[in-house]
Amino acid sequence: MTIEEVAERVKKVVSKQLKVPVEEIKDSSDFVKDLGAESIQSIELVAAFEQEFDITMDEEAALEVKNVGSAIGFIKKILDQQGKKNQT
């Protein structure tokens, strides 16, 4: 999966979970400060990313990710590590 494909799907998940229009979600958007994620929503986001990409994330490491761009990179790395390159 390309980084662009990952980015598109990450932003769709973020939009659905945090109820923010997808066009307002930038790579630089901070989950808490810009997108208004509460602590519980952060947990839900991690679960939603795992479900969307069929991956397993270390929850502590995942919750260290503060903005959308970092999340895209984090998930791309896990996809590569977990051999999910061709998943659609």
Partner: protein, 419 residues
């Protein structure tokens, strides 16, 4: 003669209550199971034997734990699941003997020569081996086998504790505008305890014990047999029904019936808790409520070792592990089993009957939450508010439980995502 209280191999049947404690640390009545045994054999030195993983934590409080060199005298080994009421205890006197009930060893009276100086790595295993050499006796003593056994015996145990501890005591403050409804001598109000105005202590069904420095705030009603532990607060207009034990340093509000709150836990607000056992450091959010009776009055099934089991009882509430938190408006089904360090967020419906340890239940989905390290930090914060330290030994035990519960947790998360 020494008395050795041992944990046998049935501890898993008492999960989640025994993840962080040996079976004999469970409470029934005003005190713990081991305290009931120790109280009876008061002239004997009492030693303890438990799972090795628990030793670093309990060595501090119980001291004489898993030490073979202390088995240097005639010894009466007693199963830590033994519920000692009245005088129903095995005798210290007599020949060597092993008391068996079903597949459980209830007690073993062993001579010094047989046990002293032996290498005992695991006392329970040694006792199993002695079944073939000691005189065997079939016995019928009360053993706590499942969590609901603690609840079903709690009222009886409280009555027993009241009598054994000397009956009527009035050392604390009983406000003149409070009321004892029933036998006025069926109360114990210990030093420093305060019963505020407009409180009713109803002793018609059994005694009410208010321990040191506990407070019962106005408009509360406590039905005996019940116990309010040391330094606990019963908040205004709380309704405590018969058969309830509140441990030390708890804050309790709302309605609670035939339940045991082990200690250091809060149920501050309204909401009903019935036929439940709540471990330590639990916080139940406002309006958290459990069912303890099915609408068809049939017996309640409870998850034991990961599988549903018929309790044979029509009144069973929830069993909630240490450090678990619930949000406002959380509903638990009849016979729910909630592991340790869970976070259950009410979403309008009834939470599942089994929530594995360290799980979050949020928007009708299971998740792994924010990870072990953060959960430990939350526990540290909660404990420090009551001036209790979370030790390295506690953390190591939590880590162990986190590991042994991984499969159950991951299975539930996966199942929940499959819808």
């Amino acid at each position: 003669m020494k008395v050795c209280i041992f944990e046998d191999d049935k501890f898993e049947q008492l999960y989640p209550l025994t993840y962080l404690r040996p079976t004999f640390e469970l409470k029934c009545g005003a005190i713990k199971l081991w305290e009931r045994i120790s109280r009876f054999y008061k002239d004997c030195e009492v030693i303890f034997w438990m799972r090795e993983v628990l030793v670093p934590v309990f060595k501090k409080s119980l001291e004489r734990v898993n030490e073979p060199q202390l088995l240097n005298d005639d010894v009466l080994c007693i199963n830590g699941r033994f519920l000692l009421l009245d005088d129903n205890a095995p005798s210290l006197k007599g020949d060597e003997e092993i008391g068996i009930q079903g597949d459980s060893i209830v007690y073993a009276r062993i001579n010094k020569e047989r046990i002293s100086g032996k290498t005992v790595a695991n006392l329970f295993e040694s006792l199993q081996n002695m079944k073939t050499v000691l005189s065997k006796k079939e016995v019928n003593f009360p053993l706590i086998s499942y969590p609901w056994d603690l609840i079903n015996n709690n009222g009886k145990a409280i009555k027993n504790d009241f009598e054994i501890s000397g009956g009527y005591v009035l050392k604390g403050e009983l406000h003149p505008q409070s009321c004892i409804y029933g036998d006025s001598k069926k109360v114990q109000i210990a030093n420093g305890a305060k019963v505020h105005p407009f409180v009713v202590l109803d002793t018609t069904l059994g005694p009410v014990i208010i321990e040191e420095n506990a407070q019962v705030l106005p408009f509360s009603r406590i039905e005996g047999p019940s116990v309010v532990g040391k330094n606990s607060q019963i908040l205004g207009a709380t309704r405590i029904r018969e058969g309830t034990s509140i441990g030390p340093v708890c804050r309790i509000g709302g309605e609670i019936e035939e339940s045991i709150v082990h200690g250091y836990s809060n149920k501050y607000h309204d909401g009903f808790l019935g036929h439940a056992y709540v471990c330590e450091w639990v916080n139940l959010g406002a309006l958290t409520t459990n069912s303890d009776l099915k609408n068809d009055y049939s017996s309640v099934s409870v998850y034991v070792k990961g599988e549903p089991m018929d309790s044979g009882s029509t009144k069973v509430g929830s069993f909630i592990g240490d450090h678990t938190k619930t949000s406002i408006g959380t509903f638990f089904n009849t016979g729910a089993v909630i592991g340790i360090m869970c976070n259950v967020v009410g979403s309008g419906g009834v939470a599942p009957k089994f929530i594995p340890s360290f799980c979050w239940y949020l928007n009708n989905m299971f998740s792994k939450g924010y990870g072990f390290r953060m959960q430990v930090e939350t526990a540290r914060t909660a404990m420090s508010r009551r001036k209790v330290e979370l030790t390295q030994e506690d953390i190591a035990l939590l880590k162990y439980v986190h590991e042994i519960t991984t499969d159950a947790r991951e299975k539930m998360v996966k199942k929940s995502r499959m819808g």
